[in-house]
């Protein structure tokens, strides 16, 4: 027999190969660890030498000075919340801090004789109190500092670069790291200074002068200056080589940014608009010294170049080792943060794409917070001990959007639909029992929407009540508008004998669509209206919107701020030029209100206009407003100080307690 290559030899070869490969891999893994260690040692010794030599070269000297200043501060000040939190963590990460001193407002920024030399004379200055926790974690029983908090995302953020990241998950991470000049107060939704200690607004709305806090520093210790603000806008956002087109379009109203002095910056606007203040105060301030060392193309293609002055910082700023999608995002507390420091030492964000797997991961203690689906939310709460071990949170906040059925108020392909008549639209709303829809279709999660303004926002008119479910009144309205059953076949007709029929367009996806369409069709049939359903893919749906080629359609708007410009959706001028007034609703009262809202800078006055606008939209019912979708969250019971605010959740307030601290019920 000749000696042939058999299966046994093959297996042997494979085995030997596998052993060799694994030996090689383990050696390279060892090498990598060694390299990391060496790198750490080198950096440590660098820091040490810089510290001992007094630091002639920038960074080290700053560090030494900073530590000295911190020591001094600790010695001089009475024990105060901020120092306590930070100091605890530095000393022993698991130490239990005894919260004996009440949260005194930190007297920083020279509250006595305020320095007004930076301001334009004669214009009111809006002085800002330093940003504080709404609910200081140290006041909560069971407080402990330290630990890691893990949130499980449903999708991977594509990149974590400020202004280039466009998804909601990326924004959530960046919000913790990159700070802005001002933010919405979580409880009251007022715009309050973060990096800004004060600002001055032109009574005519054409400029805005901002004073930056003296103690604000980036996570590497360099101070935040006016030049950083100017650079962020002029050389980053407005630099056409940076792929920040979206931010560029929203901030397009900023004509110029001038550095007045080291800590004062002035924006000039092309026209007075109420959004100017919140948009320009909402920008992330980026460190010029960090980002300017990269070419625009490097920034465009980077995935994790993220540095700012917020309460957390990202590990690994080395451009060759930056975060890439697929890894967990890990943020560590920025101990140089000027503001209220989070008791948590690290935030971790991991991604689990499948709904069920996400819940299982959460149950397996692989994460501390998830966004459950509505059925998951209800099912879990029915478990006996769920509420004892978890926070089940459900609340409406400023980011809650609303869903609606939009009626075509203008012509579709040259022909008017029945919905051009306000009475018909009101009637349509009244034949749909929105409370029941929420109960049956959305598992009882949600509240009936009354109009375009988020109910938590001060823009919402509390006096507007949703139209009742009243088919009889609806029938009367239809009759008034000329629609009644003239030939006794159960279907409404108008004078010309045309039947009342329309097509409801929805974008495909999910079983909810099925339930909604069958409910709407059912209700229409009862009222004597023929309703046909058209399901289309999202991309076609978007085209239909642009072409205004539909009778009625269902979709939702989401919100990102308590107040946003209503013109794009509601003004009659947005019917032209592919604006989002795709229902072609033209209402003179609304138009004039929108124009006045946009030009009114006084908040109180503007809110009155908003309320009026809310009523006008309610009366005319261009949309049937269905449901405001609340946020749903599960948070582990051993996380303390979990509060639901109008602005969302404040992760920096959370702490990791040793035992369950939930007070069930939300």
């Amino acid at each position: 027999m000749q000696n042939r290559f058999g299966i046994k030899d093959f297996l042997l070869l494979v085995l030997v190969g596998a052993v060799l490969v694994s030996v090689w891999l383990s050696m390279s893994a060892g090498d990598r660890r060694l390299e990391v260690l060496q790198g750490l040692e080198r950096r440590l010794s660098d820091v040490e030498t810089q510290l001992f030599t007094g630091g002639g070269t920038g960074g080290g000297g700053d560090l030494a000075k900073e530590i000295a200043a911190l020591r001094q501060a600790i010695l001089e000040r009475p024990v105060n919340v901020i120092i306590q939190g930070g100091g605890q963590v530095a000393a022993a990460t698991t130490g239990i801090a005894t919260a004996t001193t009440p949260a005194a407002s930190a007297p920083s920024g020279g509250s006595g004789g305020r320095d007004e030399s930076w301001a334009r004379p004669g214009v009111k200055i809006a002085w800002q109190k330093p940003w504080e926790f709404v609910s200081p974690p140290t006041d909560v029983p069971g407080f402990r500092a330290g630990g890691e908090f893990t949130e499980i995302f449903g999708a991977q953020p594509a990149k974590l670069v400020p202004y280039l990241s466009t998804d909601v998950y990326g924004r959530r991470v960046i919000d913790e790291v990159a700070d802005s000049l001002a933010g919405y107060d979580p409880a009251t939704l007022e715009l309050r200074g973060r990096l800004a200690s004060a600002w001055q607004e032109d009574p005519d709305g054409l400029w805005l002068r901002v004073r930056i806090r003296d103690d604000a520093v980036f996570s590497d210790g360099k101070p935040v200056t006016a030049e950083d603000v100017r650079w962020t806008l002029q050389d980053y956002v407005f630099n056409p080589q940076i792929e920040a087109e979206r931010a560029r379009s929203t901030l397009g109203m900023i004509q110029d940014v001038k550095v007045v002095d080291d800590k004062t910056v002035e924006f000039t606007f092309d026209k007075a608009m109420f959004t100017n203040l919140s948009y320009s105060m909402g920008i992330y301030v980026l460190p010029k010294h960090f980002y300017s060392q990269f070419e625009p193309s490097e920034i465009n293609q980077s995935t994790g170049l993220l540095m700012g002055s917020g309460g957390f910082k990202i590990e690994g700023l080395d451009p060759d080792r930056q975060w890439t999608p697929g890894e967990d995002v890990v943020l560590v507390r920025n101990d140089r943060f000027w503001g209220p420091r989070s008791p948590l030492e690290r935030l971790r964000y991991k991604t689990v794409t499948n709904d069920l797997a996400r819940l299982v991961s959460y149950r397996n203690d692989e994460g501390d917070m998830i966004t459950p689906t509505s059925p998951q939310f209800n099912a879990a709460r029915e478990e006996g001990d769920w509420e004892d071990e978890n926070w089940s949170l459900q609340w409406v906040n400023m980011r809650s959007g609303y869903s609606f059925i939009a009626w075509q108020c203008g012509p579709r392909q040259g022909r008017l639909t029945p919905f051009h008549d306000e009475r018909v639209r009101q009637g349509m709303t009244m034949i749909l029992d929105r409370e029941r829809m929420i109960r049956d279709i959305w598992d009882g999660i949600g509240v009936v929407s009354t109009g375009p303004n988020n109910p938590e926002s001060p823009t919402a008119n509390p006096d507007v009540e949703a139209w009742p479910y009243d088919p009889e009144r609806a029938a009367a309205l239809f009759k008034e508008a000329g629609w009644e059953d003239r030939n006794g076949d159960g279907v409404l007709e108008n004078e010309d004998g045309q039947e009342f029929q329309f097509e409801l367009t929805m974008s495909t996806g999910g079983e909810i669509v099925e339930q909604i369409t069958s409910y709407v069709r059912n209700q229409c049939t009862r009222a004597g209206i023929r309703c046909s359903i058209r399901l289309v893919d999202w991309s076609i749906f978007a085209d239909l919107l642009k072409q205004r080629d539909f009778d009625a359609l269902m979709m939702g708007w989401s919100a990102s701020a308590p107040e946003s410009d209503p013109r794009q959706i509601w003004h009659s001028e947005s019917i032209l030029d592919q604006g989002d007034n795709f229902i072609q609703w033209a209402n003179e009262d609304a138009d004039s209100l929108i124009d006045r809202i946009r030009a009114t800078l006084d908040t109180g006055e503007r809110m009155d206009l908003w309320h009026e606008f809310h009523s006008v939209v309610h009366e005319s019912q261009p949309y049937t407003f269905i449901r405001v979708s609340p946020w749903l969250r599960f948070v582990k019971g051993d996380i303390g100080n979990v509060n639901t605010y109008k602005a969302g959740l404040d992760r920096t307030e959370f702490f990791r307690a040793g035992q369950m601290v939930t007070q069930p019920g939300s």
Binding site: Q156, S249, S539, S574
Partner: protein, 513 residues
């Protein structure tokens, strides 16, 4: 043989072009078209701003060009043979090409052919920096950097002005009632408008005139900036890419797959991140399928009609008919859920602390530490199980059928008759001869290795090729889809060639000479 292989390789080029063109046309003609994801309106942005944003993005990614031009441009970039001036490469890896050409603005050849700029505008244009001298070294780099920013700014201004002009024309056309001048999406139709002479007396003509003047000025400014950039580029601030064949006309260079606009990252990076994950999964799954299915099929053929044949057949077909989505969800719900068994991890490929693990498992002071390798394998159990279980049936049945064909052949009876041991008959004679259909099946493995499984990757949160491709298709990401298509088509064609060569080795009757 060599001639045959060469011929096949040569035919591959038009085939690849055909495949990518077909896929490209499919994306381009689908609703929404290329880059549909970029055109999502926010509802908060003013319409004119949203349109402007769209125009910027279209310009950045060349989406405003005709479909075929886009395809040819893509082909030019990925082709190793390049025409024209060679591109340059900056130290950060950015490929720098000749500055983009400037198209004339809307109706510039027609309505506004003899538009003249005013004195003031001329004076403003005169202040713009003209093309500088040919610099070299650091200065050339600095000049190129400044000039390219200037040009991009000027180009953006020009695009915005052009957009504004189009809007003014739309209003004018609506007001004067030119039929069909505005399409269903509210965009002006140039062909219809050129046939009209503008009525300069109409009240909405003045804004059109003003917008056209502004656009002309922006255009002239962009031309100046472009000339300056062209000069800066000609100074060759960076090293050139590739090898010249005919200088200035023809050169060889590496293919450039471009940037995936749905994620703003180079396509090569995205594939390099996703591909190893998919290959790893398949490298484990495919051998498992073969090692289980082929022996089972052989045994089933040898004991045809026996309990093994029937039981394995029934089991495999049963497994084959279980949907992966369902199996995956069950696996997570029961095997990974600590409320039930909790044996396996739910998602991902590594433990969160895996970066700090040693590679191999160790027994130390703190007891057993699994190490990186074991951790990875442990994470792979559920996804690999879901990948393989449905694959057994086809392969086992295929093996069984091929074996049965040969078992009843004359040469087998002869071999048995002359006293060759049954083992040898089956392994040496029958199995070798049954390999032919298995080879056909085997080559299809290679493209499958790269493609990944959308369902399994979604369920187990594995960032592999499947999710990458499906997302690319959903977002109509031209670059990413084409690169994927090209890669899979290439591997497919190559696998087919390999199969044909293997035939010749497995079966002496097959010859290509």
């Amino acid at each position: 043989m060599a001639a045959y292989i060469a011929r096949r390789l040569f035919v591959m080029i038009p085939t690849l072009i055909g495949i990518t063109l077909l896929v490209f046309l499919l994306i381009a003609l689908s609703p929404g078209g290329i880059g549909a994801s970029l055109r999502v309106s926010g509802g908060e942005m003013e319409a004119s701003k949203a349109a402007q944003l769209e125009a910027y993005l279209e310009d950045r990614y060349g989406l405003d060009d005709p479909v075929l031009v886009q395809y040819v441009r893509w082909l030019g970039r990925i082709s190793p043979v390049k025409f024209g001036t060679r591109a340059q490469i900056s130290p950060s890896g950015e490929i720098i090409r000749t500055p983009k050409a400037l198209d004339g603005f809307f109706l510039s050849k027609d309505w506004f052919a003899d538009l003249e700029l005013g004195e003031e505008a001329r004076a403003r244009l005169a202040t713009l920096p003209p093309p500088g001298p040919l610099l070299d070294g650091e200065q050339a780099v600095a000049e190129h950097r400044a000039a390219s920013r200037d040009y991009m700014e000027a180009r953006a201004d020009y695009i915005a002005a052009n957009q504004f002009l189009e809007e003014a024309v739309v209003r004018y056309a609506r007001e004067t009632g030119i039929a069909d001048a505005v399409d269903a999406e509210g965009e002006p139709v140039e062909g219809v408008l050129t046939d009209h002479r503008p009525e300069t007396a109409a009240p909405s003509w003045a804004p059109v005139q003003a917008a056209a003047l502004a656009t002309l000025e922006a255009y002239e400014a962009a031309v100046v900036a472009r000339n300056r950039l062209q000069r800066a580029f000609d100074a060759k601030p960076y090293p050139e890419v590739g090898v010249p064949v005919l200088p200035g006309v023809l050169s060889l260079g590496p293919p450039d797959f471009g940037v995936a606009f749905s994620r703003g990252r180079p396509v090569v990076d995205l594939i390099a991140a996703a591909l190893p994950v998919t290959i790893l999964l398949n490298l484990i799954a495919i051998p498992v399928i073969y090692l289980v299915a082929i022996p089972t099929g052989m045994l089933a053929a040898v004991r045809r009609g026996g309990w093994w044949d029937i039981a394995s057949g029934a089991l495999f077909v049963a497994l084959w008919s279980v949907p992966t989505v369902w199996a995956g969800v069950l696996a997570i719900g029961y095997l990974a859920n600590e409320q039930y068994l909790g044996w396996f991890p739910v998602s991902g490929l590594h433990d969160k602390a895996a970066e700090d693990y040693l590679f191999l498992p160790t027994w130390g002071e703190n007891g057993f530490a699994p190490g990186y390798l074991l951790d990875l394998l442990w994470h792979l159990v559920l996804p690999v199980t879901c990948l393989v279980y449905a694959g057994f049936a086809v392969l086992a049945k295929q093996t069984r059928a091929a074996m049965l064909d040969n078992l009843s052949a004359d040469y087998v009876r002869t071999a048995r008759a002359k006293g060759v041991p049954a083992r040898t008959v089956i392994l040496r004679h029958v199995f070798r001869n049954s390999l032919l259909p298995l080879i056909t099946m085997f080559v299809s493995v290679f493209p499958a290795m790269l493609a990944g499984s959308v369902v399994i990757e979604r369920i187990f949160s594995i960032p592999g090729m499947g999710s990458l491709i499906i997302e690319a298709i959903n977002l109509r990401d031209r670059e990413l889809i084409l690169a994927n298509t090209l890669m899979i088509a290439f591997v497919n064609l190559f696998a087919l060639l390999l199969a044909d060569i293997l035939y010749a080795f497995a079966d002496p009757r097959v010859s290509y000479d």
